[in-house]
């Protein structure tokens, strides 16, 4: 088994960087590649599955809301190990338009009962799932670029988590 060398304290190490065409379904490529990159970093199977779901959902959002399903505009994915933290940065070229597109489709926190009663669209689970899958989620946006940062600690389980 290949071991990924830990970076020195305070010195993040980039493990992988790649781009994907903005086509529906390509989120599967992102999750498979990230899973392969982090597989030897000590995540439990449950936490690896959570990270895969978060990567897939963030990539889907980048493809759809950020790059408008235009294959010629790439989604960029960067995997970094910073101490015990795996940090995945997923970027698109939507900038503020990404946020606006996302809010236009699903402005509210998903509420299953409202969805079952027709008061909310059945969709709108993506960000909700991401937030619940990883230890931290942050978003940075400027006029051109929208990046979602996913952080997953390699050691142990987060508070209250089943592993």
């Amino acid at each position: 088994m290949t071991q990924v060398a830990r970076p020195a304290p305070g010195k993040p190490r980039r493990l992988d960087t790649f781009t994907l065409a903005s086509e529906p379904g390509n989120e599967r490529l992102a999750l498979a590649r990230v899973a392969g990159t982090v597989k030897d970093l000590g995540l439990s199977e449950a936490r690896l599955e959570r990270l895969k779901t978060a990567v897939a959902e963030a990539t889907m959002n980048a493809i759809e809301h950020g790059n408008g399903n235009r294959p010629e505009i790439p989604v960029e994915v960067e995997v970094t190990l910073d101490g015990d933290d795996i940090i995945i940065a997923i970027s698109d070229q939507g900038g503020e338009a990404h946020v606006a597109a996302q809010n236009a489709g699903d402005p509210e926190e998903p509420d299953l009962l409202k969805k079952l009663d027709g008061a909310q669209t059945p969709r709108g689970w993506g960000l909700f799932l991401i937030r619940n899958m990883v230890d931290a989620m942050n978003v940075t946006t400027d006029g051109q670029r929208h990046t979602i940062w996913l952080t997953m600690r390699t050691g142990g389980a987060a508070h209250g988590e089943h592993v």
Binding site: P24, A46, F128
Partner: protein, 124 residues
């Protein structure tokens, strides 16, 4: 995009089973809708169809759009006064059913045998 999802419908005493395989994502919309309709149409007992079993035992991947499709199936079933149960979910997707609260409305069973035996009662 071609769908990676397949669905087979069969009738068991008291319920219709939709056996799903592959990916439950946006490309599965028509397949899931058709499978539900086939389940309703194929049920020819004197009593109306009361329960639909979604068997996820051969499903590899469910994304947020797939969750939305399941919500739509559940909404329709509730409107038609039918119960939806599910089986065969991996531990990860059971967790997602818990987080989204789908498991508050869809009873979960480990596998199809458990689901069917619960619906039809123990074999005499």
């Amino acid at each position: 995009m071609a769908s990676m999802c397949e669905a087979t419908t069969r009738i068991v005493p008291g319920a219709a089973v939709i056996e799903l395989s592959g990916d439950i994502d946006g490309s599965a919309a028509a397949i899931l809708t058709t499978a539900y309709q086939n389940a309703v149409d194929g049920y020819d007992d004197p009593e109306p169809l009361g329960t639909v079993v979604l068997d996820f035992g051969a499903v590899d991947y469910i994304n947020s759009t797939g969750i939305a499709l399941i919500v739509s199936v559940l909404a329709r079933a509730r409107a038609e006064r039918r119960k939806v149960v599910a089986c065969g979910l991996s531990a990860h997707y059971r967790e997602i059913f818990d987080i989204t609260r789908l498991s508050d409305f869809i009873e979960l069973f480990p596998d199809l045998d458990h689901a069917v035996s619960q619906l039809t009662g123990p074999v005499a």
